[in-house]
Symmetry: D3
């Protein structure tokens, strides 16, 4: 079978096993979804196979048939096994951080931030293979279908949560570390019309709250927190909370990796905290 | 006929009658729309039947066939007649508050804020029936098709206007009163990764302007106004205008229910007003 | 042939010629896109023909067949040749200002800001023909497919860049001059529920950064710059930079037409500049 | 629920129960079909509901949406319960006579002769309601999708097997009794261009073998057998076998109702048989 | 407008006028068809425009988009006005000869013999333009969608009725005169594998009954009648009736052009008639 | 890449090489087909990959998505390499015998007899894997899309031409040898309702002309010819021509394998020939 080469058996892949187990329970509870759940999950041998099937359906459009898209997604997943690993980290990240989510199957099936990110990973692989045209084509599919615009040349780590996702923009020379959480309507944008390195460099564990705009080739240090609605035009030191338009330092996140807490509080008088509840 | 049970005759349903009358006029003016208008409106016996048909087409996707979706929407509309009542209040609200709209049929046919809200009402009914899986499925359909993300567990009153709608996010434990107006890119979000009650409680008559982010289990009092682009992290007293990042009290709305005025002005030096024109 | 009347030969239309030439190169580099590129570009005699084909596919939905949409788009392009001219200016604008873009074919094929704008131009033509119903229908297609909401009555010049585009809202009585750049999540909105002239008037060469909300019938002077995330409720003088919530004057753009630079910097202590790098 | 009124519980409907039971076994044996089988059969409360869903999908085309077709099919099934009864007789007939078929679910799901016949029953009901235009529309759907052309005014009994079905034509004033078997490429046609009664009258239990053409207002007596490839232009007495071009009497069927045996033999020297094996 | 050049106003085109008038009546009687009838007929300026729209929808498939097909059909109709004239003759022929049909709109909308024939006319035009590949592509669309296989190189006159149509095959070097009627399952085929002229030459006014096979480069004289189910391997003189396997002369048609009578009788003892009723 | 395992390079596969070469020429001659030809042929590494893509699109329907179908077709092609070999023989057979066809790509792309046969080969493989349910599902897809009904249990050799194909029926216990030609509307059917071996056994090199019906467990000897429209109810000796209703011996084919000549003549007085031209 076509997918054998990349098949990871359920036994050796606990996330895939969990998704299958959760799905079987859901199918019993909600027979109406049986059709969808079976063809999308239980019909597959591996998480990679399920992902290529599901994403191909999600990105399908009159100008990009599901058959063509699935071939491309499979090529990427087989061409670089790190995509599958990063996807599993992303699923764990969502499970851990999103209070409204207590399963692996829900984000896999429904979260368009997750779908956008995995489709970006495919486009990024194409970009690195010097297949820029096809990478831009996929970028457009993501933008049209999900309202998320990630340039395929951007470099993004693993364990990423893009929550709610509508309106997120991530520019060409952006780099994002691991274990970062990004909320809806966030922009990691360039400034000026010069080519070259012009987008933010985001460290590990950073939390970027809803609607924040980070513009230009500036550095957001590890463990920083960017308040909702902030406009950041200058470097942000590690383990610092910034907020406002334009953003100013207002405190320190309570934890090393605020992305993991998802605490969006920024009201703080003291230097060492951003607790909004005391 | 399948829809008879829920049929409300045009005579006893003035909004449905108005939609039909408006549609007949439009069909004369723009024959190109005849096809669409007839199958979506005039072919139906009741507003409920038209809604289930129209929403099913709007939410249709390769993973959710229109036939399946229509069955579910009909079940909800028949299962809880309050959905139909709330829908009529929502239509009246749009008609009354949106200056660019002077008919019932336009929002019914075209406003994706209205479509998102009614689809949420269906998902909410499913959630209360303990059919969480299907409710989350519908939530994803709404998010993908309209760019609006409303958790099915949220509690939302009637007479709601979600204007332009793209990017709106409403979290799991949010409650929203009656006669509230919400503009595009508004977030009613949680903070922290703990489960439990963690989203805003919005009173009656509140106006939430474009791009405002309201985060955490805080209370927005009746008749409050939240300025555009504000980030609200603390309770807002009733009949108070707040603005800024983070939001501070800047005045009082000129009317009891600013949602009805749709006046987004916040520039005010005096305590008792937010008039931007005097 | 149907398109002959409006055919502009490649020789006399350098942008169309460039798009065709770029496409031939891309087809060699990425055979997978051959199908898409040929039917969308090389199969056509003119930029207008290609646009009507591509937009019709992009806007296609169960309620609006591609066949019907293409007829309407062709009517508009043939009815008012200024649409084709404005489209060419828009393509040149993107090419010139968007650092991530160095071809005409990429925005033509993939940028949903460009697609939204051209579809608006079609809807605007219908509106002026007193075909309001069909214009509103197209507005809804744009909003649903691209997450961009432009009222067909708005008046928009040429040489416009709508970058990334998700969440952009442009209201009914808005006017926008030439050579304006608008980023994602920008609102040009009304205030109050009165009918009549209630939206912004934006001059030439203005740059409106990501997430800015400009509300009410206020004047944004030529060459002004609106900082990211700003909320603008009052007139902005020409050649002035404003920022903040609510927006205040913070400096002067470094050039006459900041839209052309795409420099989003607003941190400036001196009156005469907004350089963020010195 | 919409389908309740016509719901026949599985307990009181042995054919529906059998279809459901067979389907559950098949789903275990062939998981790939789970999606299809669940949405088409197990998701429904009654055979009528499953039929309307399945036929609507089968007849779906760009000019007739599944949503519209399902409404019409439901109206017919609810408007005349005899359609459901006849359908059950047809299923039993196939099960009993078709050697390649030993279940109810296979013909329900896959036999286009069965699908054509049930769609005809819907069109016939419409015709009797004086909705000729819609009846002709459905006739065209059947002809295009299945290659079977049955005029909606024809009168057809129950317990009918249309085997393989491609190319079958049944004209406007045809009547067909009960328990008749009709093979592929059979024509029951008119002759002459006069309006009025001009098609065959076929009795009970008749077997019409592959490719036979029966033309004109002639009577085919009960229990007659029409040999494959015959051209019948004159009355055929009851319990008689005819064959040839033009057809002549060649013997007698071995049983009272040759339709039930499906024995197509016609080589017979003796008056009392058409045994081809002795 | 694109179709202006070929526009024939309703006033000067009585068939188009009749179709529009009939359609308006039907729309009143059967509102469910309003959508379909309007977009297919009333939305158009001419019969040619309506035909290109309707055929494009009918032939639409995953490998041939309606948009592409419509362009090709329009090119043919504009490239050779004789196609439109022949189409009108075909409609008149059906109206006159088919007892089950008393309008122009019914065959235009629903008869797949008519649709196949017009699509062949488009393919034939392409073939004569030396665009064989596209002509064969269209031939395949016709064969797949309608079950009718007409080689684009065949030459076919006007006033042609292909009744019921399923299974009709017309080979490459066939010629068919004017005013011919062809029933379902008829083959006009070649014999031998040599290239060159190897198919039948059918004169004017010929009636070819259901299932007849005419094989080889033989001549079927003007006004001949070919009995149902016949296999014709030799020339048939003008005004002669043949029948049987292989076909033999059995009489003379009662009229000069049996195609116009549609009388399929062949039982005749006398040389000068084929009356089956005396 | 998924298809690598079964990849046969163009160099080692002359038929695949010819198809690719022919396609490149066609693309130059008819740019409108570029899209279709590229995605269907040139985008693939092997004939098998192209076949699975093309067949999946051809069989696509609301109840069987192209994605699912392609997976199944690929499994079959990889599971039994004899399918690919038989397909190549079939292509050679068509090329050699069909006078209207002088390329490999035309039948591959367009001949529904070829498509039906390859889809049957997939279904037959499934049947032998004891996946009867899925095999019957595919049988139904073939019947609905192509008007060809081949039971998946039938056994069919290689080098088979099914010409024009509409209406062909091949029953469950049929066996067909190699190098057989079958024309449109041919039935290889059973007789009687008993289970067990009840369909024809057709030898090598047999020619079965249009509309012939062969019924029952009878033997058609090697090199036999069955005249058009014949009804065969008894064994046919090898190298014998039969014709008529019922069929009688009328001569001998001029060659050993009449299937290769495609000479349909049956008029012969002499024992040793069936020349219709001397």
């Amino acid at each position: 079978m076509a997918n054998e080469a990349i098949s990871i058996t359920a036994d050796s892949d606990p996330i895939w096993k969990a998704i299958c187990d959760e799905t079987k329970i859901t199918m019993n509870e909600e027979p109406i979804l049986t059709s969808f759940l079976h063809s999308t999950i239980l019909n597959h041998q591996s998480l990679e196979s399920a992902l290529s099937f599901h994403l191909a359906h999600k990105l399908d459009s009159p100008t990009a048939s599901a058959l063509l898209l699935r071939d491309v997604i499979q090529q990427a997943l087989e061409g670089d096994p790190r995509i599958g690993k990063a996807m599993r980290c992303d699923l764990s990240a969502i499970m851990e951080r999103d209070s409204a989510c207590d399963s692996f199957s829900i984000p896999f099936l429904y979260f368009k931030g997750f779908h956008s990110l995995q489709a970006y990973r495919v486009a990024h692989w194409l970009w690195n293979q010097k297949r820029e045209a096809l990478a831009l084509f996929i970028q457009n599919c993501i933008s049209t279908q999900f309202g998320v615009d990630i340039h395929p040349a951007a470099k993004i780590g693993h364990g990423i949560l893009i929550d709610h996702a509508t309106g997120v923009v991530i520019g060409e020379t952006t780099t994002i570390g691991n274990n970062v959480s990004i909320l809806q309507s966030v922009t990691l944008g360039g400034t000026g019309k010069e080519h070259g390195d012009r987008h933010p460099k985001v460290g590990d564990g950073v939390l970027i709250s809803a609607g924040a705009k980070i513009l230009g080739n500036i550095k957001i240090g590890d463990g920083a927190k960017i308040g909702a609605g902030s406009v950041v035009l200058q470097d942000v030191p590690a383990h610092t909370t910034v907020a406002g338009v334009p953003a100013k330092i207002v405190g320190r996140p309570r934890t090393e990796q605020p992305a993991l807490d998802m605490n969006h509080g920024i009201n703080c008088d003291r230097d060492d905290c951003d607790r909004d509840d005391d």
